[in-house]
């Protein structure tokens, strides 16, 4: 089976020469059923065209670097098997909804800014001294936020979200899911620090529950659920007597 090949059509864009991205076809040997799209890109880079630019790091679905559009769907290319596409060609394009830097590399500054804005770390009003021991949690308390803590910041949810595509001011799925992860953490006391960002018009209220963010998440996080639950909690805080307490 050594001579089996698959056609990879990769987006190419040189900001100094191109006005629009274009697709370039490459024939890549497909010798192993476990090969993924990232392997094909690495083959192109190493053996056919060294100028192809893309991000990757761990190759095991943990770092979140290699997210791209594979046949129109946001995917981690290290987790997209060529066997699922062969003998049809695989079209690899940069993630939707982000400015393009070069080839398959997108500008992630907007996402990083949003991520920082929700303060994704445990906030304490007063730090306990080390001698006080650990912040112990029950299994139920961990279950409250566990799935939202699985996010690897791969930005596939932003590429799948048409709301973010239409309004880049939208805080977006991953940032809101992480805000909820910390707000639900029994050790955290930063809810009021995050609410001004999360509960504003361009925060949770911009989302109209398309739900595609949760479909494409490679880690099983459900950002759509996080956003809708935050809407419900925020409304209850507003409506219920004493709801504004922490």
């Amino acid at each position: 089976m050594a001579d089996k090949t698959i056609t990879v059509r990769a987006a190419r864009f040189d900001p100094e020469h191109d006005k629009e991205p274009r697709l370039q076809s490459y024939e890549v040997p497909f010798y192993d059923e476990s090969m993924v799209v990232l392997d094909a890109l690495n083959h192109i880079k190493n053996h056919i065209d060294g100028s192809l630019s893309y991000r990757w790091s761990c190759r095991m679905g943990i770092c979140g670097s290699c997210g791209m559009m594979v046949n129109g769907t946001p995917k981690l290319t290290c987790n997209a098997f060529l066997r699922d596409y062969w003998p049809r060609p695989v079209v690899v394009q940069p993630l939707n909804n982000f400015p393009l830097i070069r080839d398959l590399v997108i500008d992630m500054d907007d996402f990083m800014h949003k991520l920082k804005s929700i303060k994704p770390w445990i906030i304490r009003k007063q730090e306990l001294p080390l001698g006080a021991g650990e912040h112990r949690q029950t299994n139920e308390q961990i279950d409250d936020f566990r799935q939202f803590s699985e996010c690897i910041n791969c930005m596939l949810c932003y590429a799948a979200c048409p709301i973010y595509g239409l309004n880049e001011e939208f805080l977006g799925p991953a940032a809101t899911a992480l805000a909820r992860r910390y707000n639900l953490d029994s050790r955290d006391e930063g809810l009021k620090d995050r609410l001004p960002v999360v509960a504003e018009a361009e925060g949770i209220w911009e989302c109209s529950f398309v739900g595609e963010c949760s479909v494409v998440c490679p880690k099983g996080v459900d950002p759509a659920k996080a956003i809708q639950q935050t809407k419900l909690d925020t409304t209850m805080r507003f409506v219920l007597p004493y709801g504004n307490r922490e």
Binding site: T73, V210, D222, A224, Q228
Partner: protein, 118 residues
């Protein structure tokens, strides 16, 4: 974003359909309010349209409202976090309960309407 973004994927299309169903439902309900307002001049003021076109429109709106209700209840079950004795009620139980409540409420309303119409 191109204008036809919602035709690219089935999921996007179903989302747009879900959102769109609210529009004909709103039109139908406004029409119903208008008809009811005719009752101010007595029972003879109530003259619901009987044309085949309106019946066809009503059937379409009924299908839309069923689809809208189905999606609403299905999604609402995902959102709600209800704890009993410190344990989270699974989403599917909430969804099942809400669909059951929907069926019971529909049956009660249908019974009342048919009972008074006799």
């Amino acid at each position: 974003m191109p204008l036809n973004w919602w035709t690219r994927q089935r999921h996007y299309f179903l989302y747009m359909l879900r959102e769109f169903t609210a529009l004909p439902m709103a039109l139908w309900l406004i029409w119903l309010l208008y008809e009811i307002s005719g009752l101010r001049s007595g029972a003879h003021g109530y003259t619901p349209p009987r044309s085949g076109l309106f019946v066809a429109f009503s059937v379409v709106v009924l299908l839309f409202s069923l689809y809208h209700s189905y999606t609403f209840l299905k999604l609402a079950g995902v959102i709600m976090r209800i704890k009993v004795l410190d344990r989270q009620i699974p989403s599917r139980v909430i969804v099942f309960t809400m669909f059951g409540a929907w069926a019971v409420a529909s049956a009660v309303i249908a019974f009342v309407l048919i009972w008074f119409a006799r």
